[in-house]
């Protein structure tokens, strides 16, 4: 069973549901601490949502210096799956494992609501369980989720096709599609290799059919399978 680590920083608060989603997807979840200096054999890592260091200064700015970030970088460079959700995405950007930055939402308020997102590519570490162009509705909750990058790298970015998820409008919903003013409606991106992925929505919160839907589980199933594939390949 592939071992997938969730790293808890001071102020992380989505680790429990993320661990649960990994288990439900058939992986072996492991909770690691930001002070850990090795990943204890994890084949993949998820940086969970929350408010590491209270989001003080800039979200993710302090967490990127945690001891665990060294081995995490090495794992990412080895091609293993690394996923950042919400605050985890912010940390990956601050650590330059992903391009761009996440700024305060345009409306200058925390925004918590469902969003419709379109799966833009299926060859990343965690999107293989969906079809390209599929639109799913998952929860979202953040104050700093407006993705920005310089226009030039953005074009390069789009050429390399690393936009993993985009906010889209579903007719008649009465809400702006883009919940935070993100450039080009970007909800999530990945590195050119597709093994490091970050996004703002929270699929781990919709991974239990009792809550009405488990459409978010696919991200975790795909991640577990990617790790299992690597296991077989090795």
């Amino acid at each position: 069973m592939p071992r997938i680590a969730v790293i808890r920083f001071p102020g992380s608060n989505c680790e429990t549901e993320t661990l649960r989603a990994i288990a439900r997807a058939g992986g072996e979840p492991a909770l690691l601490d930001y002070r850990d200096t090795d990943l204890q054999g994890a084949q993949g890592v998820i940086l969970p949502g929350g408010f590491s260091y209270g989001d003080y200064l800039r979200s993710g700015a302090i967490a990127r210096f945690a001891p665990v970030m060294g081995p995490l970088r090495a794992l990412a460079e080895s091609g293993a799956p690394v996923l950042g959700i919400c605050n985890g995405f912010q940390i990956l950007c601050e650590a330059h494992l992903l391009p761009g930055a996440l700024l305060h939402n345009t409306q200058q308020r925390f925004t918590a609501r469902p969003v419709d997102i379109r799966i833009e590519r299926t060859d990343t570490a965690c999107t293989g369980h969906y079809t390209r162009g599929q639109v799913i509705r998952v929860p979202l909750a953040h104050g700093e989720g407006r993705f920005v990058a310089d226009e030039a790298p953005l074009d390069a970015l789009e050429t390399a096709n690393p936009v993993a998820l985009r906010y889209v409008t579903v007719r008649g919903r009465g809400l702006p599609a883009n919940p935070n003013g993100a450039t080009r409606d970007i909800a999530g991106i990945c590195n050119p290799e597709g093994n490091v992925v970050g996004f703002m929505p929270h699929p781990e919160r919709l991974a239990d059919p009792v809550l009405g839907d488990d459409v978010g589980l696919g991200f975790f199933t795909a991640l577990v399978e990617r790790c299992r594939g690597a296991e077989v390949g090795a």
Partner: protein, 82 residues
């Protein structure tokens, strides 16, 4: 003429500044020793139409009192470019 006015808004002395505290702690763990009393505030720059620097400064102060600073939790400093 237009004066360039710099406003600094800082948490009032004695008031808990969780942000400053977290930054201080992080600097310490990155090996920056001897850092104390970190306070995190805001810097605001304004172009203000006025006849004299004193008038621009007075206008900026009124803006601070009404909007830019929270009189309950924050102090402000106004400086006008010569």
């Amino acid at each position: 003429m237009t004066f360039r006015v710099h406003v600094r808004v800082i948490p009032r002395p004695g008031l808990l500044d969780p942000q400053g505290q977290a930054v201080e702690h992080a600097l310490g763990s990155l090996g920056f020793g001897g850092v104390r009393d970190v306070r995190v505030g805001k810097a605001i720059e304004l172009g203000i139409e006025a006849a004299t620097p004193a008038e621009a400064e007075a206008a900026a102060r009124r803006m601070c009192e009404r909007l830019l600073a929270n009189p309950v939790t924050e102090d402000f400093v106004v400086a006008v470019d010569a």
